[in-house]
Amino acid sequence: MSTPLAAACALAVLAAAGLVPVAAAVGRHWVAVPLAPLGGAVVAAGAATATVALGGPFLAWFAGLAVVAAACALWWRRSGHRPGRTRPDGRTAAARWRVTGAVGAVAVAAACALSLRGLSTPTVGFDARALWIMRAGWFLHDHHQLLVDLRLRQLVLTQSAYPPLVSAATAVAWGVTGVHTARLGVVVVAVLNACALAAAALAVVECGRRGAARLRPGRPPWVPAVAGLLAAVLVVLVAAGVTTPFLTNGYADPLWSLAAVGALSWGLQVPTGSPTGAATALLVLVAGLSKDEGVVIAAALVVLVAVRSVAALPTGDRRRRARLPLGVAAGELAVIGAWPVLMRIVGARGVASSFSSPSGFASRARATVDGMAPYLHVLVLAVPLAVVGGLLLAGTRRRAGLGHDGWAWAALAAGLVAVGGALVTGTGAIGPWILSTVHRVTEFPVLAAWWIVAAWGVVGAAAAVERTGRRGAVPVPVPPDAAGHAPTVPPPTDGRAPGDVVGARP
């Protein structure tokens, strides 16, 4: 079987495994397309965890968990839960909504395909060959041998305990096609990267069209929607440049970084309504199951999204209604935390943490800042843009329904602190460590900053046309969220209901 055919088969299997749960949670929305294979990859990661914990064939676990996930999703739908409908009412508004959604999806897909042209070169990265792709074969071994592979000190590979998603997705590809090549693993991981990138970019499209629909519900202005569409295509091309060559050489860094940026965007920026909660939850799981840095950032995102959801609940009813977002957050943390806990239980190589002497923290911190600074020049643009936007356009941003910029900056800061903290307190020689990793470990903060810039681009476009939209506006309903996240737009302070537009007629 040729590599392209094998990759197509593998991705079809992953998408099939993720399709029913994703469709049940997300509903009919363009983002369900890239999320389905990512959902299958999460199922594969669950199968890898179960294989290590309990034994049994990896592929049997994968099939079994996919069936269980589909059954749970169907039961959830039959019990009356459906993703909320976000499409605005009114013929013109609905038509514009559909057009911008479809054009956005096609444009983002084309940009993602363009970004994958690096796959024409059959590069397999160093870590991909030594760890991410190679480890897929371990999951296809029997249980005893799998534990030997993970534990044996003489194998020296201390990264064996890293989260399983990338290797597990590759193991599915190898298992279902019988093609055990590094090239197949690289192609499958690259397409999963593109799926995460598309999901994150579609959040920008969503900011534009939802913002437009909220500003002028009956006849949404084209400008914010088109700005969102344009910004979405541009962030795809920007992200491809930031993550190359790792986007197409089998590394896990682009996957967790792009998924985390997607979760940030869907969970903390996009106006509320279906499918923000479901998309956020799935992308958080992808980030948290892909790499150690992703675990930390995913946990931070879970906390931020939960805090934002609870803070936005009505004060009188907060205690009762907070159970749902807090329960979702606890569930996400449990899934993300299962693998690191399991690795400690089985005594895998590389789980023990060691720290450098505090006396060396200052010099290591200096080296870390010096090493990261050249990659973070986007902050020179994003910070002033956010300050100006926050001072002058905060009202437009709120009325368009976009989350407060501070949430995205908090997530970005968490990413910088997590990576910087590991470098400062770790025991590796700081110079070579930074030289060999800084490009990859700064992907998340760099991408998050570009997504912040994109969001301000949409808000700016909305502000440019908002004045004409203040007449004749009517309230926009805020539908319930599919994954249980409560509407998270802070209620207006001037007595209007959430979702109302300035100038709305009663």
């Binding site: 363009l114 070169t121 059959p122 792709i133 071994h141 044996l152 190359t244 197409t248 949409v458 700016g460």
Partner: protein
């Protein structure tokens, strides 16, 4: 006015960076990058084939005999399919690498050497066969 300026600045910056990103991605298709990738792939495929000529199905393997560089290179080549022995001293086959000048039957000058325990208990040292990559190695290191 402020909104229009902010949108223009944000989208223009994104546009400039997108153009740079596109150029970076295009660089991945450069002939030198492709040549390097193909050489790297051929090197590890060659080691894989040679190792398979030394390890019969079901036999346990130790990698590198304590040499860190050999362990990492062999892991990259055969780590996904070999049955690693625990403890390594109990292995049926101990694989190591021997590097030398470019020669026929070598992978860029490197060959896989197997110290094989025969069923009779006798230990024989054999050199892997079945593949070769002409030239002197190692291949250029891919990005870390």
């Amino acid at each position: 006015m402020v909104g229009a300026v902010l949108a223009a600045v944000a989208l223009a910056a994104l546009g400039v960076q997108a153009a740079r990103g596109t150029a970076v991605v295009s660089g991945q298709s450069a002939p030198s990058v492709e040549r390097q990738a193909r050489l790297d792939d051929a090197f590890y495929a060659c080691l894989d084939t040679q190792a398979r000529s030394l390890v019969a199905p079901g036999r346990t393997v130790a990698l590198g005999a304590g040499d860190l560089a050999d362990v990492v290179t062999l892991l990259k080549a055969v780590g996904s399919w070999v049955t690693v022995a625990d403890p390594p001293a109990s292995a049926d086959v101990t694989l190591t690498l021997r590097s030398g000048p470019a020669a026929p039957g070598t992978c860029l000058g490197t060959v896989v050497v197997g110290r094989v325990k025969e069923p009779s208990g006798r230990v024989t040292v054999r050199v892997g066969t079945g593949a070769a990559v002409p030239g002197q190695g190692p291949p250029p290191a891919p990005p870390l």
